[in-house]
């Protein structure tokens, strides 16, 4: 067996003790403030970990665990999906994408439907494979659908870097990259949410570094913790946050020391800085947020799939009344949506939150349904 022992992070005894410690702190909070503590998990993978380990249920009486906008597939806007679909219809194009994107509904169709219609759309594990396809088929335009947060952006930048080195000139990216801080700020400023603490995404933090997240504590006075994805990681992060709250402290702690450093991944940050710059970006159900996206810099526009065709997308709309926007911003729980579990299931999803593996609705459907 060469896989590292991850099960030490699932130690049931330590887990139970941590749960007791958290409950104790949560009670103190409740007594002081007359309400449950509101914690938001920003990252979709945390949403999955929390639900899978049954933590929402364990802390039912103590903590309100709110799921945030942490799945890149879910936050991609209708307009952007519609654009991808139009791109896929162009004659000499090969669209390459991560699997999750295939079934995300646009206004009128999905990539999966377009593939069934005969368009060349391929699901890849890595954008590296798209480079190989481009090299093998120089007569085609190979477009990678670049979706994701600070974790994915450097990987996409690295493929452009490689395309340059390997002199591949038929590789393009369609970027809908997003960055976390602006949306976090938006949520804090929402008087309806009252977020007391944030569980911060482990892998975004691995790239940007712990220090870069200090603004959450200094500017917003909200205690937060960077956590990994095993049950003990998540519990340790929760404990940190509630304890800080009770002591009137606000810091950004790091409970994912084995992966996250103070300064982050310099090579990755350099890659982002070389190829990308900030721009406003459109979030599904939330709308456009200034400075919340990353687009290719002017000098690398030749890699931008947006420049290839003069595409006008048909009027975009959320015709089926999916409430993903409210789910993503923590205003409602999936179960508050009328479609949930009835007209919307993972097999026939109405909105992206039911499609993506890390989607909040899919997670609740899998793990939180009482049967």
């Amino acid at each position: 067996m060469s896989s590292m022992k991850t099960n030490v992070y699932r130690d049931p005894v330590l887990g139970k003790e941590l749960i007791q410690a958290i409950k104790k702190q949560a009670k103190i909070f409740q007594e002081k403030n007359g309400r449950k503590v509101n914690l938001m998990e920003v990252c979709g993978t945390h949403t999955v970990s929390v639900s899978k380990a049954g933590l929402r249920d364990v802390f039912r009486d103590d903590i309100e665990l709110i799921s945030g906008p942490g799945c890149p597939v879910c936050v991609t806007s209708h307009e952007d999906i519609d654009y991808m679909i139009e791109l896929a219809k162009q004659p000499e194009v090969i669209i390459c994408t991560f699997g999750d994107m295939m079934r995300v509904p646009g206004s009128h169709s999905s990539l999966a439907e377009e593939k069934a219609n005969g368009h060349d759309i391929r699901v890849l594990y890595s954008p590296l494979e798209a480079l190989d396809i481009a090299e093998e088929q120089p007569d085609k335009k190979v477009i990678f659908l670049a979706v994701g947060f600070e974790t994915t952006t450097p990987a996409i930048a690295a493929t452009i870097d490689m395309a340059e080195k390997r002199e591949i000139d038929n590789y393009y990216v369609f970027t809908v990259h997003k960055i976390c801080p602006p949306v976090v700020e938006l949520l804090f400023n929402d008087p309806k949410l009252k977020i007391d603490g944030l569980l911060l995404p482990g892998h975004v933090s691995a790239i940007v570094g712990r220090k870069a997240l200090d603004f959450i504590a200094t500017e917003f006075k909200v205690p937060s913790s960077i956590a990994g994805f095993e049950p003990l990681d998540v519990l340790a992060g929760m404990y940190d946050i509630i304890r800080m709250l009770n002591q009137g402290e606000a810091k950004v702690t790091n409970q994912y020391l084995r992966v996250v450093t103070e300064e982050g991944n310099k090579a990755a940050l350099d890659m982002i800085a070389k190829y990308f710059e900030a721009a406003s970006s459109n979030w599904r159900g939330i709308g456009s947020i200034e400075g919340s996206g990353l687009v290719l810099k002017p000098e690398y526009q030749k890699y931008d799939a947006r420049n290839l065709y003069d595409i006008t997308i048909p009027e975009s709309s959320n015709t089926r009344g999916c409430r993903c926007g409210e789910v993503l911003s923590g205003h409602i729980k999936p179960t508050d949506c009328g479609h949930f579990g009835r007209s919307c299931t993972p097999v026939s999803p109405v909105g992206p939150c039911m499609v993506s593996y890390e989607g909040t609705c899919a997670t609740y459907f899998k793990y939180e349904r009482k049967v």
């Binding site: 060469s2 896989s3 590292m4 991850t6 030490v8 330590l14 003790e17 941590l18 007791q20 410690a21 104790k24 702190q25 993978t45 799945c71 890149p72 597939v73 991560f98 999750d100 594990y125 890595s126 954008p127 590296l128 494979e129 979706v147 994701g148 974790t151 994915t152 450097p154 990987a155 996409i156 690295a158 493929t159 870097d161 490689m162 482990g202 892998h203 691995a206 790239i207 990994g228 994805f229 003990l232 340790a236 404990y239 409970q255 994912y256 020391l257 084995r258 992966v259 996250v260 991944n265 090579a267 990755a268 890659m271 993506s356 593996y357 890390e358």
Partner: protein, 76 residues
């Protein structure tokens, strides 16, 4: 989209590495973590190594959590 489990590096060829996780092997890019060595445990995201998992720190956080609990129990 994300694989949160560390994979082990079993071979390196320039800017590409072969990693193994639960018996599956995959080709991943090293551009974002060029100092990666054979035998390292790494976090992979979108086909690229983004960080090397530090086993020393892995043990430290275990100790830290045990401390936390002890501390909490003492306050009773």
């Amino acid at each position: 989209m994300c694989l949160a489990i560390p994979a082990k590096v079993i071979a390196i060829d320039g800017y590409l590495a072969e990693v193994e996780c639960f018996g599956n092997t995959r080709k991943v890019g090293l551009t974002l973590k060029p100092e990666t060595k054979i035998g390292d445990y790494v976090m992979v995201h979108a086909g690229f190594v983004i960080e090397i998992v530090d086993e020393k720190y892995a043990m430290e956080s275990q100790e830290l959590w045990k401390e936390m609990i002890k501390h909490e129990q003492h306050e009773d």
